[in-house]
Amino acid sequence: MGKIIALHSYKGGTGKTLLSVNLAATYVRRGKNVCLLDLDFRAPSLHAVFKTKNSEYWLNDYLNGACEIDKVLVDVTREHGRSGKFFVGLANPATEAIREMSSKDRKWEMRALGRLLSLKTSLLNDMHHDYVIFDTSPGLQYSSINAIVSTDVALVVTSLDASDIKGTQRMTRELYDLFDKKTGIVMNKVLAEILSSKKEKQKFYKHFNSVHNLPILEAVPCFCDVLRAGGTYIFSEEKPEHPFTKTLDKLATKIEKL
């Protein structure tokens, strides 16, 4: 049985999409069948990475009950697959769709939770995906909490920004603990000099393990090359020998062991 992994964060701009896309690509390289879903309905982004013909339906339609999940998924194996199959489900980036998704009532959100929960059966059991990755919206809003409740493993992406650290602490305590999820922290955009030596790295991990009271799965250094790429292509796919790709590889292994 596969796993559903959600990437979430307290603040926006922490690198959830970058890490989601590259984590998915890492598992595909390992021969796993992966399904990557854009659950950030307020700021959809995966359509910009996967320049593929859109499916007739969006994830918005699936949550609205207008179609089943197989109608939403786009097979990108030919463009991005290696040894495993790669599917993506996109959120509708049209302004009207974003506005519509932000004005849903509680009853709709309750039904959306039910539909997200049923993905475990449809994607993992029936369609035999090894990993389903949710790229969620930041903060404590309906769509992201629904995604967290429906996931097996939650990865909280955080930067070294003080307000992000404080917010993440509060969020994990008041939200993740209540839903009893396997949770790990991924520290992103860490200055390379902080991780320069083994000793410094150990000190960094020890400090943040106690700050968050959760395991720090990986500290991803800030690479100018990655920033320069600007999310226009899947970095780890194009640069398999880059230290960023190697870091993602280590993260993927740690998640497998969770």
Partner: protein
């Protein structure tokens, strides 16, 4: 003695009937406790919405039951207990409490009671 006669003298059926009645009695007692706690009966005809924000506000023991039922869609107390690894009687109590609070519905089919948040379609 008359019930025994009505049930064709089969002791197993008699015990099952007693168990069924005890369970109904338990449910009624749960309802009474809940009414005492809240001062008034929550109208089960107007269900409250069991969304994530509500799930967050529930006490830990009820949240576990509610999330499990959301995952299963529709289930008996026994099926919920299998998932939560708690006793069937415990889950039955929690599910009935959630029904009283207006977050779930209950439907008897034969001798089994099924709980659900919302019917499909």
């Amino acid at each position: 003695m008359s019930i025994y006669k009505k049930l064709d003298g089969k002791p197993t059926r008699l015990l099952e009937k007693i168990k069924e009645n005890l369970e109904r009695l338990n449910e009624k007692m749960d309802a009474m406790i809940e009414i005492q706690k809240h001062g008034q009966r929550v109208n089960p005809e107007i269900p409250d919405v069991l969304d994530v924000m509500t799930l967050l506000s529930l006490p830990d023991h009820l949240r576990k039951t509610a999330v499990t039922l959301c995952k299963l869609g529709e289930a008996t107390a026994e099926e919920v207990a299998e998932q939560t690894k708690r006793a069937r009687a415990v889950e039955s109590g929690y599910l009935n409490q959630l029904v009283i609070m207006g977050y779930m519905k209950k439907e008897r089919r034969g001798r089994k009671a099924y709980f659900y948040v919302e019917k499909e379609g």
